[in-house]
């Protein structure tokens, strides 16, 4: 206690020396609500956040270095799975599309439809987890388990298709690893019908709960222009009222064939761009994903699930950036090929890495409990932030 520093304390990343009444609180790397090993150095005045310095990299697994050292392009996919392990399908999809664009491959129609179905199921699964953990951050434990219950049903579908529940390695360059099981479409349809009442229940239990609204409305407001300047994407950007979804605005795969709306935050219970808006965007996106699923399952054509590609992919030296809309936002792969069988550089633009960089700007002036809410509303996955 007597070791109060005589000279003012300076912190890397914080522009000025600490004032006397300010205190540093380390939130993380081991903390129940940092969704992994994220460390937030909070500079607080009582319970009010003066500034925050995020420290990431605790889960850095050298994805980009690994990708360069793989002996072929295909081997990168299991590593892509492990970036955003909550939405591994979407990660694989982005990488596969990037490689296919580079090789100029057109995948069969059946593959495109199955990919869209998988990506949308994955979006629902990921949003369920995001919503559930967000509720738990606010203190509601029960919705979390209801969300997990339904997420398990999606994972069951995935397991029946590709044998894995979390890290699928299902979407391959030029196709898929397996065809879907025979009764897949029926099961997805069953899921769609039975999932709708659950969303309603979730809405009455959590979304419109007064305490939940009080905790999230007007908290962590992110203005649209700030969001764009910070490069926010996904529900974080749409929560700020920007109608921007790559599935619509920069269509990839066959998303231009489906009808769906882009839900945006409208500030129904608070300010546009607050935590509740980001949350409700996710809930409504699940409904839209169900719409896409219902359209897609009826149209799956027959056909092959692997296009004829060489065993060893060897693209010409080129570089390109391909982006897809994962549940968390814009996932970009910048791939530099040098004419060999392995990529020379794979840079990933993880959506949550960028979204997380807005956290200090959103949290200044908020309270400690709000930081938890804001962090939960961004929906980070540290596997992807740190790669």
């Amino acid at each position: 206690m007597e070791a109060v520093a005589e000279k003012p304390l300076t912190i890397p990343g914080f522009p000025r020396p600490l004032k006397n009444h300010e205190m540093i609180v380390n939130m993380g790397p081991q903390h129940p609500s940092t969704h992994g090993v994220l460390r937030l150095e909070l500079i607080v005045d009582g319970e009010v956040i003066v500034d925050m310095i995020p420290h990431i990299g605790y889960l850095h697994r050298c994805f980009e270095k690994h990708a360069e050292y793989m002996s072929n392009y295909q081997q990168v996919i299991p590593y892509c799975d492990r970036m955003d392990y909550i939405a591994a399908m979407s990660n694989d999809l982005g990488y596969a599309i990037a490689c296919e664009t580079m090789l100029g491959i057109k995948v069969p129609e059946r593959v495109e439809y199955i990919r869209v179905i998988m990506a949308e199921l994955q979006r629902i699964a990921s949003h369920l987890l995001a919503i559930g953990t967000f509720g738990m951050d606010i203190g509601a434990f029960t919705p979390f388990l209801y969300c997990f219950r339904d997420r398990e049903r999606i994972l069951d579908l995935f397991e029946q298709t590709c044998g894995a529940r979390l890290l699928y390695n299902y979407i391959w360059i030029g196709g898929l690893s397996h065809d879907v099981p025979p009764d897949f479409a029926g099961k997805v349809a069953d899921f769609c019908t039975s999932f709708k009442p659950t969303i309603k229940e979730l809405n009455s239990l959590l979304t419109h709960n007064k305490i939940f609204v009080e905790r999230t409305a007007h908290v962590g407001v992110l203005q649209a222009d700030v969001a764009v300047n910070y490069g926010a994407s996904g529900p974080v950007l749409r929560g700020s009222g920007v109608e921007w979804d790559l599935r619509r605005n920069d269509p990839y795969s066959i998303y231009d064939r489906f009808e769906f709306d882009i839900p945006v935050g409208r500030g129904e219970v608070g300010t546009v761009g607050d935590c509740w808006d980001r949350y409700i965007v996710r809930v409504r996106e699940m409904e839209q994903s169900l719409r896409i699923l219902e359209q897609a399952i009826g149209q799956i054509p027959e056909g092959n699930v692997q296009s004829a590609i060489p065993k060893r992919i060897r693209p010409d030296s080129a570089d390109l950036y391909v982006r897809t809309e994962t549940p968390k936002g814009e996932l970009g792969y910048y791939i530099v090929a040098d004419g060999t069988t392995s990529p020379s550089r794979v840079k990933v633009r993880p959506p949550t890495f960028v979204n997380l960089s807005i956290l200090p700007a959103m949290s200044r002036g908020a309270m400690i409990a709000d930081v938890i809410a804001i962090l939960g509303s961004i929906d980070i996955v540290l596997g992807e932030v740190d790669r």
Binding site: P78, G163, S204, K210
Partner: protein, 178 residues
């Protein structure tokens, strides 16, 4: 002032709605199962522990090369022309002894990439998922069936045939290991 009372009213109303939902769930059957006593049947495609049928392995090293985490170690010894190692169940002729076929299942990432390139379909992922061990060494699975004596024997034979081959200009014999 109206807002004040509306807030209180909303709070009470939404809390009661929430309580109704949780109370209803109190009497719905639970979705969890008692795991070690009750087990779900895994789908046929479940990707879990790797298994290698050594009778069919031709030592081609394809699985090892496909592995993104290098968890498969294969060593081969060329057989001499006088030995017949038999054929695999799909009919390809075995030309290599496989004295070492180790899978470090602790490193394995269960991606299944090793299964597809195998020409004889001898490596596959099984449904076994309960195989935790107390010692890390126990997770290195040795699939090779050759005894040390057999390995030595094969090596000696190969060395002998190579030394004879070196004396006369024989056509370079290439293994399937490409």
């Amino acid at each position: 002032m109206g807002r004040y009372f509306k807030n209180i009213f909303d709070a009470v109303r939404t809390i009661l709605i929430g309580m109704r939902i949780t109370a209803r769930h109190l009497f719905t059957p639970s979705v969890t199962i008692q795991y070690p006593d009750v087990k779900l049947k895994l789908p046929a495609r479940a990707r879990n522990r790797l298994y290698v049928n050594m009778d069919d392995c031709i030592g081609c090293d394809q699985c090892s090369m496909a592995c993104p985490v290098n968890c498969i170690t294969i060593e081969t010894i060329k057989s001499t022309s006088d030995v017949d190692l038999g054929v695999t169940s799909v009919g390809s002729k075995k030309r290599l002894y496989v004295p070492v076929f180790d899978i470090d299942i602790a490193k394995c990432c269960y991606c299944g990439l090793c299964v597809y390139p195998c020409p004889t379909e001898c490596i596959k992922m099984t449904e076994v998922f309960e195989f935790s061990e107390y010692e890390r060494e126990n997770l290195i699975y040795n699939f090779a069936t050759m005894t040390p004596a057999e390995v030595d024997d094969a090596k000696r034979k190969l060395a002998a045939s190579e030394s004879t081959a070196a004396t006369k200009p024989a056509p370079a014999s290439r293994g399937t290991n490409s």
